[in-house]
């Protein structure tokens, strides 16, 4: 009764903290969403590949950009005893012109048409020839490109037109929308000069078990997840985002902690009176924690509302890499509540230590 009535009668104070908690929770949800968004943008297309291991060039330091495998290396990897299936993949970043004077960069991934590396289309049909391309769904929406449209990609000093055969939903790669072409076309996009000297692939995608750590003279096999974590900047980016999130939680815990500590200090004499007339310390602590829970839960609910609003307005129309998943919002909300409770433990100790004799000492 005490906790709820105090909140009801002191709306201004509690409204203020709830607002602050809501903003902090909102910030945490945004940062968490940004973390997920960046994580996705960094290489979901790689994680979505239909295999579990990747072979990189030995001298590439597991960088997709630097990895180049010769025909013989690909053949060697294909022949590995544990490999149930293997198929080469090429990667190159390319500028695409999707309308006159309108350009964008895309991650062009070369696959053998019909191989398990070619993603399922969500619209249109799979690759049917060397002049066809599968484009990313969210990019297609932003660029207004449809199945049957034509995209120009530079080859050497020339450009070559590709027809959009289908639309895929594999996500991003190196912060660029992933698009798929025939691996032979990839080879032409990426390398000029004598075809006999061109690398055959960037990577080999493998399906099979016990492949992790296998190595040849020119290649190394790692799991797809290790490959992802080795994408340039992924680790640094995720630790930055995590640091921001923990800062947010720390600030939230401190704000809530300080607020409740101050209102507890204001109430010391009242707490003394209540203890003197027989209120158990546990009752008073529970009332305090109840208030913390209410403030934090309400703050979290408001923050989720704000986040959903942001998602529906700002994010819907733009390519900001923020991903609001239910999981992210739940985690952020629960974290804020936990941070609040932790922050208010000091107040709980304060409540416990009030000596009821002070009820008789005040004038």
């Amino acid at each position: 009764m005490l906790a709820l009535l105090e909140i009801r009668r002191r709306k201004l104070q509690f409204g203020f903290v709830t607002g602050v908690v809501a903003l902090i929770a909102y910030l945490i949800i945004m940062v968490t969403g940004l973390g997920l968004g960046l994580y996705d943008a960094a290489g979901t297309a790689l994680l979505n590949l239909n295999g579990d291991h990747l072979a990189y060039a030995a001298n590439s330091n597991f960088s997709v950009i630097r990895s180049r495998l010769a025909e013989a290396d690909v053949a060697e990897v294909r022949a590995l005893p544990g490999a149930e299936a293997a198929t080469p993949i090429g990667y190159v970043a390319a500028v695409i012109e999707y309308a006159p004077e309108e350009t964008d960069t895309a991650a062009i991934i070369g696959v053998i048409p019909g191989s398990f590396a070619e993603p399922e289309v969500v619209e249109g049909r799979p690759l049917g020839g060397p002049d066809e391309i599968l484009i990313d769904r969210s990019w297609a929406r932003l660029a207004g490109t449809r199945v049957g449209d034509s995209l120009a990609l530079p080859i050497g000093f020339q450009t070559r037109n590709f027809t959009v055969a289908g639309i895929v939903d594999q996500g991003y790669f190196f912060f660029q929308p992933a698009m798929y072409v025939d691996i032979d076309s990839w080879q032409e996009l990426n390398f000029q000069g004598d075809p006999a000297d061109r690398p055959a692939a960037s990577l080999v995608l493998l399906q099979g078990r016990d492949l992790d750590g296998l190595r040849g003279e020119n290649w190394r096999v790692v799991t797809k997840e290790d490959g992802f974590n080795n994408i340039e900047g992924v680790q640094a980016q995720q630790s930055t985002v995590d640091a921001l999130r923990y800062m947010g939680l720390l600030i939230g815990a401190m704000v809530i902690g300080v607020f409740f500590y101050v209102i507890t200090l204001q109430k010391v004499s009242l707490l003394g009176v209540l203890k003197a007339i027989g209120a158990p310390g546990s009752y008073l602590i529970v009332q305090g924690l109840l208030q913390v829970l209410i403030v934090c839960a309400l703050g979290a609910v408001i923050a989720v509302g704000l986040a959903l609003l942001t998602e529906a307005t700002v994010l819907a129309s733009d390519a900001i890499p923020i991903n609001f998943t239910t999981g992210a919002m739940t985690t952020a909300s629960i974290s804020v509540v936990i941070a609040g409770v932790v922050g208010s433990l000091l107040s709980a100790r304060q409540v416990a230590s009030v000596d009821p004799i002070i009820a008789m000492q005040q004038q």
Binding site: V273, A279, P280, I357, M360, Q361
Partner: protein
């Protein structure tokens, strides 16, 4: 059997040269239906004596029997329960929960456990009526006058039907007329409900309204006489 019986109770604070003997070998008993006024100059140990009887302090020597039970032997939990169930406190200043109404301040004691809620509500309304507070029952404590607040405090002290009422200068912040009304309200409740009561006061005019007057000086009782 008296409700409250103090035998050779002493309480000191501090050590060595800074030691203060606030209460010295006090023996006192209070019977059912009796209001004892405890009068003495500032620093004579009145509040300390009250705190001892209310188990807010433990004596350094002596025993304190309430209904024949030695409360000095109680642990922390038993002391809390003793204060909750058997003692009614009225403190000097305002000690209402400021953001609760008069009635809510009374009902709050139900939150401390072990009581029948409907009975509590009936009791609150009955006490508000008797103490002439029915008109302000839904007013927030901070908006009550000093006299009203002290009467709410008396009502709160009676909510759990305690056997012993401990009242520390209930009229200190009131003028004589209001103070007299508050004391009279207290006296009639104690007599009506057959409680034992110690009322600390500075003011001889208030003390004269009690059933018995005990005077204390430097922690020791110097006189104890009936007033009627």
């Amino acid at each position: 059997m008296p409700i409250l019986q103090l035998s050779e109770v002493s309480r000191s604070f501090g050590q060595g040269a800074r030691r203060v003997d606030a209460v010295r070998e006090v023996s006192l008993q209070v019977d059912r239906g009796e209001v004892v006024a405890l009068e003495g100059p500032s620093g004579s140990g009145k509040t300390t004596l009250l705190a001892l009887a209310g188990a807010l302090l433990t004596p350094t020597a002596g025993e304190i029997l309430v209904d024949g039970e030695d409360i000095t032997k109680y642990g922390a939990r038993a002391r809390t329960r003793y204060r909750r169930d058997r003692v009614g406190f009225v403190f000097q200043g305002s000690n209402m929960v400021p953001f609760l109404t008069a009635r809510e301040n009374l009902l709050l004691v139900g939150d401390f456990g072990a009581i029948d809620r409907p009975a509590l509500r009936r009791r609150a309304d009955e006490l508000l009526e008797q103490l002439d507070l029915a008109g302000v029952r839904d007013q927030v404590a901070t908006s009550l006058s000093g006299g009203e607040r002290q009467r709410v405090a008396i009502a709160r002290a009676l909510m759990r039907d305690p056997t012993l009422l401990l009242v520390d200068e209930p009229t200190a912040s009131l003028n004589f007329e209001l103070g007299a009304r508050v004391v009279d309200a207290l006296l009639s409740e104690v007599h009506l409900r057959d409680k034992a009561c110690i009322m600390v006061t500075h003011d001889d005019r208030m003390a004269q309204r009690a059933d018995r007057l005990v005077e204390i000086l430097d922690g020791a009782i110097v006189s104890d006489r009936p007033l009627r």
